[in-house]
Symmetry: C2
Amino acid sequence: MVDMGRKVLILVRNLSDDERSLVEKMLNGYAEPYFIDDGVDEVAAEAEAAVVSTARHPRVREALRKAVKLRFLQTLAAGVDNIPFQDLPRNVIVASNAGANAEEVAEFTVALILTSLKNIVILDRGMRRGDWWGPTPKLLRGSKVVILGYGHIGREIAKRIQPFKPYIVGVKRRPKPDEYADEVVSIRDLEKHLPTTDILVVTLPLTKETRGFVDRRILDKLKEGALVVNVGRGPVIDEEALFEALSRRKLYAALDVWWVYPSRRGEPTFQNKPFHLLDNVVMTPHVAGSWPGFRRKLLEHALENLRRYLAGEEPRNIVDLEEYL
Amino acid sequence: MVDMGRKVLILVRNLSDDERSLVEKMLNGYAEPYFIDDGVDEVAAEAEAAVVSTARHPRVREALRKAVKLRFLQTLAAGVDNIPFQDLPRNVIVASNAGANAEEVAEFTVALILTSLKNIVILDRGMRRGDWWGPTPKLLRGSKVVILGYGHIGREIAKRIQPFKPYIVGVKRRPKPDEYADEVVSIRDLEKHLPTTDILVVTLPLTKETRGFVDRRILDKLKEGALVVNVGRGPVIDEEALFEALSRRKLYAALDVWWVYPSRRGEPTFQNKPFHLLDNVVMTPHVAGSWPGFRRKLLEHALENLRRYLAGEEPRNIVDLEEYL
């Protein structure tokens, strides 16, 4: 293999031929890609940059441990909470893929909101027993929707629900007015909105600060009968507190992200608390960011940012490591 | 009771005190209301106008048969297919409540579209068995949505899905351009769109002309894997042809309206074909037009039109009886 000088580890497993050509084409003239599927033991120590998907697989973690000269790590995911920051060289720049699938995650989030409000899972289950007497659908129109984490995804959600005429409150660290929200407020203003919130949508990433942020106190202050939708990360919400509020039927929930994940493909996996026995929760297996062909789009978005780094431009979505270490 | 001259039959059963006061208030100065809940046998023959809900109940049908001087019949429903036109006096004017719940039906329709595209019912069912490996969600963005019946409801659906960026084709008898649709075409242009249609939304009323309109030929021409959503009336679609296309997994469906309805409350009710055994159909019990407090809004909208009639103004939504007789 020709040594072109700069080496990039592509630590995304099982790439298709098409995805592999995309990588080769996009890095052509900038650096030489080395694919985890071919084995990267030999070159890991010399690599300057890497692209990772989830970093959960042992071979990926092993390659990252060996990459002692790594200066730039680009993720495929918008969330970087699974990156083993403690194993990376100091001064490495980590860039997330934030925004790459914001539109798609927003579509799924609106689907969760509407499926829950209209009780479609329960009505469908009834119809299959011949039972036509289910709960009455609720309206999105006129409801108050609080979007906790008003970033790329939050904004795309607001844009899609706006024609239904809810009252939309975006919550973010540095609030500024936005065309799709009725208000954008800071986190310290969240509390006063809770007693009038019909739908709380959580899109927060998992950081030191957000872990357990949606705790018992917040859930207690929410309006009776409110719907909690989580497409951020499971542990942003206190599992026990949410389970308890659902069990006493104070709240409804639609959850795509979880506290417990399968450790092996095909292995039946449940949470610490038996959410699967509740009928006031809609459950999906972390698929908000999946759609046919999604990995190619994520890869393209990620490689474009890697190319910026390699070309000496400022990469986008640089992660503040302080929030994770 | 004082005879004010003009008599109106309120043939909507089990009105609340609040709904009853609404009727009295809105008709005050125009006519005297007589409520079916109080018995209307005495006055039916003298009534000039009536308001009906579904006209399925025997007492309602009986009152209508007796109302030999009826000049104006206002329905609460947008669809008038259950009105016993043959029992009404000649020259009666029938007005539907079209548009009264268009926004709400549109909300529900978008919920059905998204629940189906994202496979939420199936994913939720899997999660309850600990199974995380379900079908990949599909995107509304970039899909082609054909709305068969581009009236009040069709337009409200288009308005709500527009931010998802599908390609929207409205189909109606007298097409004219509309801000929410990419195209509005006539019924004879439907066919050429079918092979590229991802989502066919049926909002058609049930008339002589629309009964069985969505037949085997239309379903056969639809794109492989297309989703058929019906919020119009069941018999607009050929039950057997749809069941067959679903059984061989050519299509998906989300159905809120049916061919067979329960005859008594609480009685298990299935269709002629076992749709309830298919996992590529989402089933809801004709609730698209229901929401907490919906009857009051329908009543208000209907009474406003009745008031127009009583005041000698032109009522809205006059039904062309030719389409039903």
